[in-house]
C-alpha cells in the first residue's frame, strides 16, 4: 500500500474527499490491489457497523411522553382565536338543525291535523266504537307495537267515542277520538322514534298539545277550546303514570 494514499482511504469512503482527490484515488484504486483491498475492508466494516449500530429504538409511550413535554403550550388568547370560527360554524349548524326540526314539526302537525279532519269526515270514523276504555284499550293489542293507558273519564266532560289504527311516517299508532261539548278531539299515540315532540299551540284552526312519555309521543288536536285540550292532555298524562 502506497503511503500518501493510505490516509485518504477512510475520508474517501466517508465521502469527505474533494472531487479532485476523489477522481485521483478512483484511478489509483484501479491499479493498486493493496489499496483496493484496504478500501473493501473498510467498506465492509463500515456497513457492518451501520447494521449493528441501529439496534435500539424508543418505546412509543416514552416517545409520546417526551413529545407532550416539549409540545408548545397554547395561551388562552390563542385558543380563542381558533375557537371563534369553530363556534360560528357550530352556531350555523345549530340554527340549520333547529330550523329543520321546526319545519319537520310543522309538517308533522299539519299531517296529523289532516288525519284528524279526514277521520271525522269519514262515515266510519272509528273502528272500535265504545265509550269504555276497558274495551278500547284491549282492541289495540296485537295491532300496534306498544300498549298505553287511557284515563278514567267519570266526572269529566269528556267522552270516549272510540279508536282506530292510524298510520304516520309508515308507522302504526293509536288514534282515539274523544268528545267534549260536541267538539271532537283526536289523540294520536305513536312510538317516540316515529313522532317527535311537536310542541303545543295552534295548527290551522285547531288547538293542539303534545308531549312524550315512557317512549311514546302523544299528540292531542281538535277544534275544542285550548283549555279543554289541556285538560284532556292532563288526564292522559295522569293515566300514563299509573
Amino acid at each position: 500500500m502506497s503511503d500518501p494514499w493510505s490516509v485518504k482511504l477512510e475520508p474517501y469512503l466517508d465521502g469527505e474527499l474533494s472531487p479532485e482527490d476523489m477522481r485521483d484515488l478512483d484511478s489509483h484504486l484501479r491499479t493498486c490491489p493493496a489499496c483496493a483491498a484496504e478500501v473493501l475492508r473498510h467498506l465492509q466494516m463500515k456497513r457492518a457497523v451501520r447494521a449493528a449500530g441501529r439496534q435500539f429504538s424508543p418505546s412509543p409511550e416514552f416517545k409520546r411522553r417526551v413529545q407532550q413535554q416539549i409540545a408548545p403550550r397554547r395561551p388562552a388568547a390563542a385558543a380563542w382565536r381558533w375557537a371563534v370560527p369553530v363556534l360560528a360554524v357550530l352556531l350555523i349548524a345549530l340554527s340549520i338543525y333547529l330550523g329543520r326540526q321546526r319545519s319537520q314539526a310543522q309538517h308533522a302537525s299539519s299531517e296529523l291535523a289532516d288525519l284528524h279532519v279526514t277521520t271525522l269526515a269519514s262515515t266510519t270514523p272509528v273502528d272500535v266504537v265504545s265509550s269504555d276504555r276497558h274495551t278500547v284499550k284491549p282492541w289495540f293489542q296485537g295491532k300496534i307495537p306498544f300498549t298505553f293507558n287511557l284515563p278514567e273519564l267519570q266526572n269529566t266532560e269528556f267522552t270516549l267515542l272510540g279508536g282506530r289504527i292510524a298510520y304516520f311516517n309508515q308507522a302504526s299508532g293509536a288514534h282515539l277520538i274523544y268528545q267534549v261539548r260536541k267538539h271532537e278531539i283526536s289523540v294520536f299515540i305513536f312510538p317516540e322514534r316515529d313522532l317527535n315532540a311537536l310542541g303545543t299551540g295552534k295548527t290551522l284552526s285547531f288547538n293542539s298539545a303534545s308531549w312524550s312519555e315512557g317512549g311514546l309521543s302523544y299528540f292531542v288536536i281538535g277544534d275544542a277550546a285550548s283549555d279543554d285540550i289541556q285538560k284532556l292532555a292532563a288526564l292522559l298524562q295522569n293515566a300514563a303514570k299509573n
Partner: protein
Amino acid sequence: MNDRLTAATFEELALPLFDQLYNFAHWLARDRAEAEDLVQETYVKALRGFASFQPGTNFRAWMYRILRNTFLTSRTGLKQTVTLGEDVPEPASEQTPESILLGHAEQELLQAAMEDLPLPSREIILLADVEEMSYQEMAETLGVPIGTVMSRLSRARRTLRDLVRRKLEHHERPLVGKTRTVS
C-alpha cells in the same frame, strides 16, 4: 420570535431526530432506563436553550452535543470516562475480520465489540457510521477540530477491528466444538 413559535419550531426540528438520538443514547449509556432519562433531559434542555441556538448552524449536531454533554456529566458517563481512557492500539495483523462480519450470526459479536469500545471510540464510530454525520457535524458535536475528528475516527476504527479480531479468535474454537457436538 415569541415563545409559542419557538416551541413549535423546536418540536418540528427535534422530533424527527428522536429515534436516532435514542439509539445513540442507548449506545452511550448501555441501559434502557438511563437512555430514556438521557433523551428526556436532552429534549428539555434543548427546548429551554433553543433561543440560544444559532439559526443556520447544524441543529442535529447541536442536539447530539447536548445529549453527549448530558451523558458525560451523568454518573455513568463519568464512570466510563474515568475507567476507560484512550486505549493503546494493537499491532496490525495480516488477517481481515471484515468479510466474516457480513454474516448475520456475527452481528452480535460486532455489537459486543462496539460495546467494549472505550467511550471516545464508541461515540465517534456511531456518529460517523451509524448516524452518518459529516466530519464537520462531528466536529461541532464533539467540540473538536476536524483534524481531531479524522485521527480519532481512524484510531477508533482500528481499535474496533482489533477487538473484533480478538473476539473471533476467542470464539473460534468453542464454536467449532459446539458444531461437532450437534452433528
